[in-house]
Symmetry: C2
Subunit: 205 residues, 2 copies
DNA sequence: CTTAAAATTGACGCCTTGTCTTCAAAGACT
DNA sequence: AGTCTTTGAAGACAAGGCGTCAATTTTAAG
């Protein structure tokens, strides 16, 4: 017995999310209203607010779901890595393949005519960044990576991934391998030149 | 004689922009309304629309002004460069110093609680990116740079600049030189490893 | 001084927002 | 099965934003 109450709750939430995805792509994030979203469902306007506080929160929920889909893959890739190259190369390949495959989802993420860029501050996405930073620190401790500034390195990886990812999608045909190779080569060469670094807290210890 | 009409026109426009900067920082981009902006001036609501179509357009105008402030400096740095290192290093130093200095302006640019990230698609900013791409292509032609994928390289530079820039601002004290050195080293090392590349159009010729 | 053009004003109609009361359906208890 | 309680969907409502426009003031020109 599932409990009818629980079931409709899930159904309604999904209906709203699905409608939101649809409408965000069609109208763009900025132009869509909460009413646009519920109008695309069978529900009443007041019901929306039982599930989300605003259209922003729906957007976050969608982003979180996206992040949850890629994060485990990225994580697995990094844990499996036995050296720097596998770490970097695996991450880029996975990420680029994801955004190339999941185009429909990425359409929501991507630049909209009247909104900014990627929403990067949802809990899940932040958690993903943190995970990356910790994995980098671990790799440095284990001597897989040279002791560079993990925070800046993370920032660089993220920046390159998103920017190249976006350019990659504008090319025809979409070549995720070429994009990943470019990014990987950049970092593989760059590592050797990076200034070595000891975090302030560790230096004090 | 300046012409009184022209003068008040400029004054009004500036008043709106100044009020907008103030309000965007205070309330965040998403939460501010056109009314909030004009309320922070002496003007009437209708007047706003003689100058801008929406709050979005005001935001763009602010971004454009910002871009116009940095672009010439970046350009000069690149034109002066006699080799790869000067090109890269000069650009990063200039950019990081700019965002560190002009904090108030950057506060508008930076992540807001309820909006996304940087608006990257205003005409001036796009022009700035284009300028960078062209400078890169020129440098490649002149043999200063190896023949790499200029588009991806530009994307990487931009991604790294913005992401590291943001992290840099969270550290105390703010060390623009260290940030620039990190980014420069990454690319200096990375270059040598990048796959050589001939753009499709040129390859066809 | 008169007339024409330009630009500002603020009220207006339309729309969205988030809230709140009402009420039907689901589940609990006997 | 019958009654009571709780949940949550519904949809009306007040508050307030949006963009427009006729009226009015301000500047420039003749």
């Amino acid at each position: 017995m599932t409990g009818k109450r629980e079931q409709t709750k899930k159904d309604n939430r999904n209906a709203i999310l699905e409608a939101a995805r649809e409408v965000f792509v069609k109208l763009g994030y900025g132009a869509t209203t909460v009413r646009d979203i519920i109008r695309a469902t069978e529900l009443a306007s007041g019901t929306f607010y039982n599930y989300f506080k605003s259209k922003d929160e729906v957007f976050q929920a969608i982003q979180d779901e996206n992040a949850l889909r890629v994060r485990p893959r990225l994580r697995a890739e990094r844990v499996r890595a036995r050296n720097v190259e596998e770490f970097i190369s695996g991450s880029f390949h996975t990420f680029f393949e994801y955004i190339a495959t999941d185009r429909r989802t990425f359409a929501v993420i991507r630049r909209n005519a009247d909104t900014m860029r990627v929403r990067m501050d949802t809990p899940e996405i932040i958690a993903g960044f943190d995970e990356l930073r910790i994995d980098l620190l671990t790799a440095i401790e284990q001597g897989i990576f040279p002791p560079v500034d993990a925070d800046y390195l993370m920032a660089s990886l993220v920046g390159v991934a998103f920017e190249i990812g976006e350019h990659m999608l504008t090319r025809e045909p979409i070549d995720t391998k070429a994009a990943a190779n470019f990014a990987t080569a950049l970092f593989m060469g760059g590592f050797k030149a990076l200034p070595h670094y000891v975090a302030a807290t560790e230096a004090a210890a």
